[in-house]
C-alpha cells in the first residue's frame, strides 16, 4: 500500500467516524494525522524484518505496533477519541 493510498483510506475512515477537524497529510514513508486538539499521530509501514507487524502508530512518547489494517484503524479511531467502547461486531445469521 502506497502512502497516498493510505492517506486516502484514512481520510475516508475519519469521515466515517464523524471526526471533525482532523487533517491527514503525507509524511515521509507514511502519513501524519493531526487531530483538532493538535495531537499528531504518525502512521508508518513496518519494515519487512518486523513481520508479522505491518504498521506502527507513533504519538509523543508512544509507539504501537499493528499486525493489520483492521487493528490499525481501530487504534487510530480510539486515539482520535471516536471509539465508542465496544465496537459493533459482525454477527452471523444462522444458516
Amino acid at each position: 500500500m502506497t502512502p497516498p493510498e493510505l492517506r486516502n483510506l484514512l481520510v475516508d475512515s475519519i469521515a466515517v467516524w464523524d471526526v471533525a477537524g482532523a487533517k491527514v497529510a503525507l509524511a515521509n514513508d507514511g502519513v501524519a494525522v493531526t487531530a483538532a486538539d493538535g495531537l499528531v499521530l504518525r502512521i508508518l509501514p513496518a519494515a519487512a524484518a518486523d513481520a508479522p507487524l505491518r504498521w506502527w502508530m507513533e504519538r509523543p512518547g508512544q509507539r504501537r505496533p499493528y499486525t493489520g489494517m483492521t487493528g490499525l484503524l481501530r487504534g487510530l479511531r480510539n486515539a482520535l477519541g471516536a471509539g465508542d467502547g465496544l465496537p459493533s461486531r459482525l454477527r452471523g445469521a444462522p444458516g
Partner: protein, 331 residues
Amino acid sequence: MTERMPVSVVTGFLGAGKTTLLKRVLRDPAWADSAVVINEYGEVPLDHDLVAAGDETFLSVATGCLCCVVRSDLTQTLLDLHRRRAAGEVPPYARVLIETSGLADPAPVLHALMLEAAMTDTHRLQSVATLVDAQHGLDALDRHPEAQRQAMLADRLLLTKSDLAPDTSGLEVRLRGLNPAAPIRAAVQGAVPPDWIFAPGQHATEPAALAAWLEDAGTAARHTEGVATIVIEREAPIPAMALTLWMQALAEHAGPKLLRVKGLVAITEAGADRPAAIHAIQHVVHPLEWLDAWPSADRRGRVVLIGQGLPRHWPARLLAAIEDEVVSASR
C-alpha cells in the same frame, strides 16, 4: 431441515396504507392462509369487520386467515405461533406477513428474523415491501430518517394512494436515489398482485433476480443527500479471509450508517465458476449462499452497499488494503 416458513415484512411510514394492503391481500383466496403479525399493538388496528375475536395474542380473521397482534417480543411471538401451528392449535398457515410500526426503522425486525437459531431453523426472510404515500411521501422522506431507511431496505416499493397524486415523478426520483434497484409500482387501495409485492427478495434462491438487482444498482448508483449506493465491481475472486475481515471492518466502523450489503462474488478458495451470494443487513450477515453457476455470461463480481454518510470510495479502499495484506501473507 424441514421447509422453513417464509416471512415477508411490510413497512412504510404512518398512513402509507400498510393495513389497507394487508386487508386486501388477505381477501385474495390464494393468500388467505397467511398469518399476519403487527409489531405495534393498536397502532393501526385491522378493521373489526375483518377480524373476528380470538385470544389476546392470536386472532382468526373472517377470511379464514390468521392474525396475531404482537404483545411481546416478535421472535417469541413467531415461535409460539409456529409451535401452535405444529400442534394443530391454529390453522396451518403457509406464510407470515409482518406489519411494522410506521415510525420504526425496520432493521431490528429484520435482525430478529435473521439472528436467532431457533428462528432461522423455522423461518426464512423472504422479502421486504415498503409502502410510500404518493401524496405525502416526499414530505415524510424529508422529515423522517425512519422513512428513508424503510425505503432503503425495500425489495419492492409500492406507491400508495396514487389516485391522489397524479404526478409521482419527483417521488420516484427521490426513491431511486435511496434505493436504485427495488422495482416501483403504484397502487390505489392496496390493489397490487400479492405475488408482485411479496416476490422473493434478491437471494441466491433467485440468482437471476439477484444478478438483475446488482446490475440495476450498478447502473443507478449515486449519492443523494447523504445516502450512498456504492458498487464495487471485480474481475478477480476475493480471498475468503479478505472478505470476512472486510465485512467485519465495515460493521465495526460504519455501524448503523451501513444499511444493506448485497453481492455476488467469486471466492478464491472455491474457484471462479461458483459464485457466492452475500447478504447483510447492517452488521448481521447471512451465511454465504453458493450458486452452481453464474446467472449470466457476465462473470464480474459485484457488491452493492447502501448506506448513509459513507464516502464513495471508502469500501473499495478498505477492501483493497485488507486484500493486499491477506494476499501478501499467503505468499
